[in-house]
Symmetry: C2
Subunit: 614 residues, 2 copies
């Protein structure tokens, strides 16, 4: 093992290159040249700056190293090998079936915090990790993020620059591998480091320009970054893609490929080396801040009282936030609308205003859950589409993340279609391993929030409503995830209405109207859209033969499709009728909107008549 002091950093850089070449050659694919450009940057970091106990990945004092340019995974794995964490044998399983060393890093490896590979995400998440280290749990760890130059075109990167600059996160260092070449060809700014420096400085960062192949200069740049105590630093390193192998250096058309002649390349790089770095350990962890809470009662609402589910959400979140000290809330500058302001008022130290930057909002939450915090992220359901890619990647990261979208559906009223969440159920249902909940009353909302707080489980989505519906459930009713509530039922039921959220109240009114006409219908409140209550839906299908779903959402991917999840294994399927928002709404009151969209009680009653007349 080579200790830090007598380490030859240039040699280590060459080793990282050789191993990147070897791994990609063995795989027959992968990003060799993008790894070679950043090898010296990582050699200096590993040898001199990173403080990390690879035997104890959960050490609370460990630094965080995030490859925002996730395609440089061969370099990352070569770094792990140099640190003794990955064997040479495993290195050569790169990109093969069953290997932990995937084409882009994922947390299957214990030293990887989050999956990357969708560019422009690692730095935003890194901001969340750094922010936790400052505002939640003062800890001496540093966050190092390796970025590519191409990804600086992503707006999410500038949301991250803005957020970190504003929060003065001096525990964050971005290292940009400016190798001039993207996948397809040159970047906009090529080797104009100053173009990036001007932008970063304008956003409140300290920028350092450096030759990314000069270990001494890199060393000095990192030291300078460490010395800046009032803002984050970005090290802008001029590098050469494919550095070290003349035939591929700075050449277009070599992105994402192994080297054509790996044996010769390895020889040109000086052959294999066996440097093993004794990576500096983190300082003894300071006692982590207590995350214990104080027991708090959940809010309780009276039957018949009109309460918007967003109000219940805010009050319930404030209560569970008292109960559990590890809950954090983040909002996209609409906390007065989502009602996360109730949490903010009671727990200001655990509330994070992320302004109108939904990607960074989601990324900050992902970063905080890396540190073991349980985030509740809220904004308008419609604007969560802005963070879709971050939600998708959070699932790849196996992140524990609660997301809440308010102002769902046409029921919001006059503000019009730009503000209406009409695709959010489709978005969240299609996320791997997700849970999707959509309560219709305040007590139900409260209990679901408590469940989301009690036990984290992947990406969980709660959809709330702007307007106030009547409370229909008592405060002691339980609402297990994957359950449903049968609100009207008899053995004579001729049809089943399946509703959730605002349409539950419409379905109940329709059922009462139909009952008055002598037509008994069943009503199911399908508050858990994923997973769905298979048994209850199947029982209803057996008795009534027809399920009429009604939802304040586009017809694709929402409640109607969720109903089908109970019938996709070859089980007999009942007749189906689907009411959903198929028109483009304009401005109108909430009640008018439900009527115009054909999802109010009158429309349900009419559709039931039609269905029974078939």
């Amino acid at each position: 093992m080579t200790t830090t002091t007598d380490l030859d950093l240039a040699e280590l850089g060459q080793q990282l290159r050789v191993d990147s070449v070897r791994a990609t050659a063995a795989a027959g694919s992968g990003h060799a040249t993008s790894s070679m450009s950043a090898a010296d940057l990582m050699a200096v970091l590993l040898g001199r700056y990173l403080r990390y106990d690879f035997d104890w990945p959960d050490h609370p004092g460990n630094d965080h190293l995030i490859f925002s340019k996730g395609h440089a995974s061969p370099l990352l794995y070569s770094v792990y090998k140099a640190a003794g964490a990955v064997s040479d044998e495993e290195l050569l399983t790169f990109r093969k079936l069953g290997s932990r060393l995937e084409g882009h890093p994922t947390p299957k490896l214990p030293w990887v915090d989050v999956a990357t590979g969708s560019l422009g995400q690692g730095l935003p998440v890194g901001v969340g990790v750094a922010l936790a280290g400052r505002r939640l749990e003062p800890m001496p760890y540093r966050v190092w993020v390796l970025c590519g130059d191409s990804e600086l075109a992503e707006g999410s990167i500038w949301e991250a620059f803005e957020h970190a600059g504003y929060e003065r996160l001096s525990n964050l260092t971005a290292i940009v591998d400016v190798n001039r070449l993207g996948q397809r060809g040159p970047t906009r700014h090529e080797w104009d480091l100053n173009a990036y420096a001007r932008r970063a400085e304008a956003f409140g960062w300290h920028a350092i320009e450096v030759d990314g192949h000069d270990p001494a200069a890199i060393d000095a740049a990192y030291a300078e970054a460490l010395s800046v105590s009032d803002r984050p630093s970005v090290v802008l390193a001029r590098t050469i893609k494919g550095r070290g192998v003349a035939s591929v250096e700075n050449r277009e058309g070599m992105h994402g490929k192994p080297l054509p002649e790996p044996a010769e390349a390895i020889e040109e790089l000086g052959g294999e080396r066996r440097i093993r770095v004794d990576v500096a350990r983190p300082a003894a962890a300071t006692a982590p801040r207590s995350r214990h809470g104080v027991h708090a009662e959940l809010p309780v609402f009276s039957l018949g009282e009109k309460v918007a589910t967003r109000d219940a959400y805010g009050r319930a979140l404030a209560a569970v936030g008292t109960d559990r000290g590890d809950i954090v809330a983040l909002d996209g500058e609409v906390s007065d609308s989502t009602r996360s302001e109730f949490f903010a008022k009671e727990h200001p130290d655990r509330f994070f205003e992320c302004y109108i930057a939904e990607q960074e909002l989601m990324a900050t939450a992902v970063g905080m859950q890396v540190r073991g915090w349980l985030p509740f992220v809220s904004t308008f359901a419609a604007f969560l589409t802005r963070a879709h890619d971050f939600v998708r990647m959070a699932a790849v990261s196996h992140a524990q993340l609660n997301v809440v979208g308010s102002h769902s559906g046409v029921a919001i009223g006059e503000d019009g279609p730009s503000q209406m969440g009409l695709e959010d159920l489709a978005l969240f249902r299609s996320v791997h391993g997700s849970t999707v909940l959509y309560p219709c009353d305040a007590n139900q909302t409260t209990r679901l929030v408590a469940e989301m707080a009690a036990e984290a489980s992947g990406v969980r989505y709660l959809r709330t409503s702007r307007g106030g519906g009547p409370v229909i459930y008592g405060p002691d009713e339980e609402f297990p995830i994957g359950g449903s509530k049968v609100l009207r039922s008899s053995d004579e039921d001729r049809l089943t209405l399946v509703a959730a959220g605002v349409t539950v109240h419409e379905a109940l009114a329709a059922a009462d109207e139909l009952a008055a006409e002598g037509i008994p219908v069943r009503v199911i409140d399908l508050y858990s859209l994923k997973p769905v209550d298979v048994a209850t839906l199947r029982a209803a299908a057996e008795v009534t033969g027809c399920l009429l779903s009604v939802e304040d959402h586009h017809p694709e991917g929402g409640l109607g499709d969720a109903v089908l999840d109970a019938f996709i294994d070859g089980h007999p399927v009942p007749r189906l009728v689907r009411l959903a928002v198929t028109t483009m709404p304009g401005s109108a009151t909430g009640d008018e909107q439900l009527k115009e969209a054909g999802i109010d009680a009158t429309a349900i009653t009419a559709a039931a008549h039609r269905a029974l007349a078939v």
Copy 2:
């Protein structure tokens, strides 16, 4: 009518305020204070700078005025009234059922280019409009975009700054209404205009700071913007939210509400005025550049030849681009992967490299279709999630937009889940009025591209594959949108396999295996996922009683749900079996991935056996 020269701009500003107050008061909702802050900015623009023929909204020389802060719609409608385009009577229909004057502007109004209201979108779209005026159809129109200060937190805004700065779009002026207050409270930078100026200048813009309530200063600022010929300009205006009514001026908690005492407010503002501005007309339009094409044959592929549908897409797009001069192609720095590079090589003047900034990529396309161009936008299917909100808003805008996502599904192989489009079908199916196409071979792809080019119709999505499958259709086969192809069929069919894209080939192999076992099954290539071929699916259901869908996508919102679109009106539903990607993939070859996900021929055959054994 007041002519431009003797117009009292301060008085016009007050009129715009009064009308904003009146409209919101009549509606009982809406953003009065956010309109009042920008009234003077718009008074000077309307009175002195805008060149627009309100009687001829399609005049090719008209300027473009985009309210990126769409919630200031009362101000926009008051501007239209002052220009004589909207009557006072109509102004007072604001936010009412059936009114064109919605809570946020939409193109129901002929002077509105695109719907806004999701913040951070108007400027990115404005960049597309301005870019068209420079690179596609040299025209003297200018693009004016009114932004809020809150929305400058959106990364998409900085993607727009980067794009416009790099392209040196001096025909674009952003006007930022820095009123210090967002919805919930103060913005990050409040009245620090220089914070914004530094950022804008770093991105290559000319920044001008101004008192946003001093008409003469505003006039000078706009004149300065016009005088800058080598870059876009941003006018950063210090304003007061609620300006003119002391009780609401610069006060928190007044966002998105009518004034509490409208009659008193109007009196304080000096009462109603009847100024009618004679808006300057645009210069006589220069002859628009010819958009005629030269007839070109579509590429033709031989049966059995292995061709990736992305390759067919690129070649077909290049051909239709020759055929039609109004087609433009835009890509997110992966044209060598999506194969839009084939178009770029043949039509470099109509190809736009948008780098890795998918929001700005989509917005640029939306801006170009405002000017009558027909865009094809391409990137990896997975990364289209980044632009979800822009796609959603494009539908609200009734934009004509073709989108192509490559590298769909687990079939891409070793790159792993971050690069796999597994939610894209759900995303695009849930968009209002969308069309979703997913071809399985090269000739089919070619014909579908030709249809997308022949007639625009809302948001249309084409999903392509990375790997090459065999050509199974002849070049003269037709593939109408809304159709399907029955590839195996007999009256004895015991089951129907429904597939699309890569799984068509797996389904065919499974059908052949089952046929060899004496089990005839039907195979449907459901290349049109929205709309679906109802008749063919119902016929198959009638004959076989069971539909087994198999898709390289998550189980929610994709092919399996699309099949149901044929059965949601109460029609009897067959038994359903769904094969889809339910596991989290890692790295492996494409064939291994299909096997691991349980969507290859072997898995289909096994599922068919199970379904028939029920």
